[in-house]
């Protein structure tokens, strides 16, 4: 197929999205990842997002790969190249293709192409799969490789990088590599021989991914936790958190090889989330770096134990990979709707440290840092990720080895107790920073033991109903929380010349916001952008709000939860805050952010 000639348009290079519409459970994930990896290997910035239903097999699923020479990784709402493999979503897929776009479809789907403003190419999927010689039980599976080959030919994906992608995927196992690659090659060849390119989309090798890796947030979080020395994790399966503990199970044996040949950690699948947080809290109390991972429903169930951990001052790390709530909600859609609940989780006055990673790299970083913070402050730490960050493929800066030694916080062992001149008290604010010293079970010093509890206690951990004792312990907890502000990860601020307005956001919306800021700059509306990395907020946030006329708080929930928290934290300046929320379960796009801000600005 001679490229470029039949089209009068200018070529569109490395700047479009490819969406594959298929049936879940059909094994298309390997094909999609192969395309993604091949593009990445070509040095082109890419991101991959899976939009899947809450079932296991047979319903429509879409995988979208964004190719962006500018390095934009956010979701776009537009689909330039659509690959239609599913009769059930065929009409919708066809309608979703942009004018001038590409529509590749399985020719066994006998539905009419009702548009003439696109380039439609029929693919002989079944035929090529049959001809592949794949055993019949694998035929449906390799059928997905057909579109890899044809797409590769149409847009010009390098076949070598495709081979490398397969090699990676199949861990260099030659048999499956060859089986799949042969199908791709055959499809590619078929396209060369049979298709006439009528569209402008193509890829060209770049050099923009060399210093990057590609990973999903859940894997990154698990790896970070491993570098943070995780010793105990109890968990209960829930979408989209499951792959986080499953990655612990996968990677711990690889990365944590003790010379004894034995294990320095334990992972327990609990019977539910009440037990998962219970076990993790017990382990944290015992002095292990302990964590759990869950999503909204699990957070709800963890409320009581979180209160106990807060009040007994037990370090424990909870990853909340958010999905759309309330209730069971949309288990396979993304959201930032648990922020308020996590921040205040528990009855009575409770407040928790919340970390807000905004990239896969930060998932890794907070994977280890969360333990340092939890143990330093002796309190639960929530890390809020979401489905989009946790389960999708992101191009990201490589993981950095921790730049500080592990901070185990204030722990007294036998020899430490021996050196003390005054009696030790579990809840005594010896250093005036609100953080007491703790001992751990197994400490054999006769003064080491104490009885932990969720009931009122004095500085020596004795039961107390005394009003003054209660007040003083509650106030010390508050002091500890206030003192956390300066030691938590600082917000990241991107400034632009002449910006009078600002944006505050957190988490997985970062790529969309950054991209939107570029667009707004082009539109003549320069904005500064503060990305929050933790709650409670630090002084920088105050200053940021103070130094802007209006500050847009962009988040993916209905009620503007971050905006509410900032309002409480900054009552003096809260009238500058404007809440912009996006809550349909799909990741926010740069265009949405841009339009929302422009609409407000023109009011």
């Amino acid at each position: 197929m001679p490229t470029d000639q039949s089209s009068t348009q200018l070529p569109i290079v490395n700047d479009f999205s490819i969406t594959v519409g298929t049936v879940n459970g059909s094994g298309s994930q390997t094909s999609n990842l192969t395309i993604l990896r091949a593009l990445f290997k070509m040095g082109i910035p890419v991101s991959g997002k899976n939009l899947f239903p809450s079932n296991i097999q047979g319903l429509p699923t879409w995988y979208t790969i964004r190719v962006s020479k500018d390095g934009y990784l956010a979701r776009r709402a537009e689909h330039e190249i659509v690959i239609a493999m599913n009769p059930a979503s065929f009409a919708q897929d066809l309608a979703g293709c942009v004018p001038g776009g590409v529509f590749l479809y399985d020719d066994s789907i006998k539905l009419a192409i009702t548009r003439d403003d696109i380039s439609a190419y029929a693919m002989p999927v079944k035929t090529l799969a049959r001809e592949s010689g794949a055993p019949s039980n694998l035929r449906d599976y390799v059928a997905n490789m057909v579109y890899v080959g044809i797409l590769a030919q149409i847009v010009g994906i390098d076949m070598d990088t495709i081979y490398q992608a397969l090699d990676f995927h199949f861990k260099s196992k030659i048999k499956p590599i060859e089986l799949n690659f042969n199908v791709i090659k055959a499809a590619h060849q078929w396209a060369v021989e049979n298709l006439t390119k009528t569209d402008p989309y193509r890829v060209e090798a770049m050099d923009a991914t060399k210093d990057y890796i590609m990973a999903d947030g859940n894997t990154a979080a698990a790896l970070g936790a491993i570098y943070g020395g995780v010793q105990f994790s109890a968990w209960y399966p829930i979408t989209p958190a499951t792959s986080l503990p499953e990655s612990l199970i996968e990677y711990l044996p690889i990365l944590r090889k003790d010379e004894s040949g034995k294990e320095t950690y334990a992972i327990v699948q609990a019977e539910d989330e009440l037990a998962a947080i219970g076990m993790a809290t017990g382990a944290g109390w015992g002095g292990l770096r302990a964590m759990t991972a869950t999503s909204g429903p699990g957070i709800s169930l963890m409320a009581e134990f979180t209160g106990l951990a807060y009040f007994s001052e037990t370090p424990v790390v909870v990853w909340d990979v958010q999905r759309m709530g309330p209730s069971t909600g949309l288990p396979t859609r993304t959201s930032q709707g648990d922020l308020n609940l996590c921040y205040f989780l528990g009855h009575g006055d409770t407040k928790h440290i919340v970390l807000l990673p905004g990239s896969v790299t930060e998932c890794f970083e907070f994977g280890w840092k969360a333990f340092d913070i939890a143990e330093r402050l002796q309190t639960p730490v929530f890390v809020l990720s979401d489905l989009d960050m946790g389960m999708n493929q992101w191009m990201a800066k490589p993981f950095q080895y921790p730049d500080t030694p592990m901070d185990r916080g204030k722990i007294l062992w036998e020899t430490d107790l021996e050196k003390l001149t005054e009696p030790w008290g579990r809840y005594l604010d010896k250093d005036g920073d609100g953080i007491p010293y703790r001992t751990l079970p197994g400490n054999r010093h006769p003064d080491s033991a104490y009885f932990a509890r969720g009931t009122g206690h004095d500085e020596y951990a004795h039961y107390s109903e005394d009003p003054d004792v209660w007040v003083s312990q509650m106030n010390r907890l508050n002091k500890k929380f206030e003192n956390a502000r300066p030691i938590l990860p600082k917000p990241v601020i991107q400034r632009r010349e002449g910006a009078k307005i600002g944006v505050i956001a957190f988490g997985s919306t970062d790529p969309a916001i950054s991209e939107a800021c570029d667009y707004l700059g082009v539109e003549g509306v320069p904005v500064d952008y503060l990305r929050l990395l933790a709650l409670p907020i630090s002084e920088e946030v105050n200053e940021f709000v103070e130094s802007h006329e209006r500050v847009y708080v962009v988040e993916m929930n209905r009620d503007g939860q971050l905006c509410q928290i900032l309002t409480i934290e900054l009552p003096d300046r809260c009238t500058r805050l404007i809440s912009l929320t996006h809550n349909d379960g799909l990741q926010v796009t740069a265009n949405w952010v841009k339009a929302a801000i422009l609409a407000e600005e023109s009011k």
Binding site: F232, E263, A266, E271, G278, M279, G282, G286, L288, E304
Partner: protein, 342 residues
């Protein structure tokens, strides 16, 4: 000769095993169980620092403060002692552990965690101080209250009771016993045996609530217990490396060898009873329930069942003493790791 305070082999006096002054009601069964825990630990020469205590919420769950004041402990949440303990015990698997719960704490709100800690065979002496009632909230039915029991303000209990022992046997708990706070000697010997067991040891101890559920006809009263207790056997605990002192006739006793080398000697009473035959036990319990008997003693034991920590191949040192070098992968690995993330 001046009066000397008696010490045990650990060189500790009985009062080294005491805790704070009890704030439970006078005569409460839980107090008498606490005394037997103190006595058993003293006689077993346990160093208090080597043991860790857990409990849920309730009068029963308060009692860990009233014994072993030198042991670590955690009084957790209502019904959630099992999960808290499971996690904590990973910190240092060389510690002995004891959990105290109530019938409400275990069989009402705590049923799920109770069943699941047994599935995992977590090494812990798990005592249910069973009074058929919620003591601390002033006298409502717990899940072990018998059908038809009447309590002030509550009327008559319409629901069927949970039988802790039965639940434990079916859940394949590796050590199941029942006793009665009014039978302190048996309580003590069972605690000793339980402390030598390497997996979970469930002790269902009928422990009358004198304030809210001690009417003679109540199945958890002193009177009822005294009148209906049927001990399966006379039980003695023989520490490791000690010989069995009394000579029993061949066939008169069953000896169970524990993993630490100690022995539990069961001298048969009227019943011919094999505490390793689960099916037989279930039949016996069903029959006893029909007869209204309160069967006590060591009901089931499987000393060989894999304990939680045998399921995990953990390093020998306590996990909570491992240093950064053992826990954080070496710096070099990060490059490899990133290479895997393409």
């Amino acid at each position: 000769m001046s009066r000397q305070v008696q010490v045990n082999l650990a060189n500790l006096t009985k009062s080294d095993y005491r805790g704070a002054q009890s704030t439970l009601c006078q005569g409460c069964g839980h107090n008498s169980i606490a005394s037997q825990i103190i006595a058993a630990c003293y006689e077993l020469n346990i160093v208090p620092e080597n043991l860790v205590k857990f409990s849920g919420i309730g009068c029963s769950s308060k009692s860990p403060t009233y014994f072993l004041g030198r042991s670590f402990g955690f009084n957790g949440l209502h019904g959630r002692m099992p999960s808290l303990a499971t996690g904590a015990l990973f910190a240092d698997t060389s510690l002995l552990s004891m959990g105290i719960s109530g019938d409400g704490d275990t069989a009402s709100i705590g049923m799920g965690q109770f069943k699941h800690i047994m599935r995992r065979n977590v090494p812990m002496v798990y005592i249910v101080e069973n009074n058929g009632v919620y003591g601390l909230t002033k006298g409502q039915f717990s899940a072990t209250a018998e059908e038809g029991l009447s309590l002030k303000k509550q009327g008559a209990n319409p629901y069927m009771p949970v039988d802790i022992v039965w639940e434990a046997v079916v859940a394949k708990s590796s050590f199941v016993a029942r006793s009665f706070a009014g039978d302190p000697k048996q309580v003590k010997e069972l605690i000793k045996a339980a402390m030598s067991h390497k997996g979970i040891a469930i002790l269902d101890i009928i422990s009358p609530c004198v304030t809210f559920n001690n009417q003679d006809a109540s199945h958890h009263s002193y009177t009822w217990g005294k009148e209906h207790e049927v001990a399966l056997h006379e039980l003695s605990y023989v520490p490791p490396a000690e010989d069995i002192l009394v000579d029993y006739k061949e066939g008169e006793t069953i000896e169970v060898e524990m993993h630490d080398g100690s022995q539990v000697v069961l001298r048969k009473l009227e019943n011919d009873y094999d505490p390793t035959d689960r099916a037989g036990i279930l039949c016996m319990l069903e029959e006893a329930n029909r007869m209204g008997e309160l069967i006590t003693g060591l009901i089931y034991i499987n000393p060989g069942q894999k304990s939680l920590f045998e399921m995990y191949n953990l390093v020998d040192e306590p996990l909570n003493r491992l240093t950064e070098e053992r826990l954080r992968p070496a710096k070099e690995t990060i490059t490899e790791l990133n290479a895997m993330m393409f």
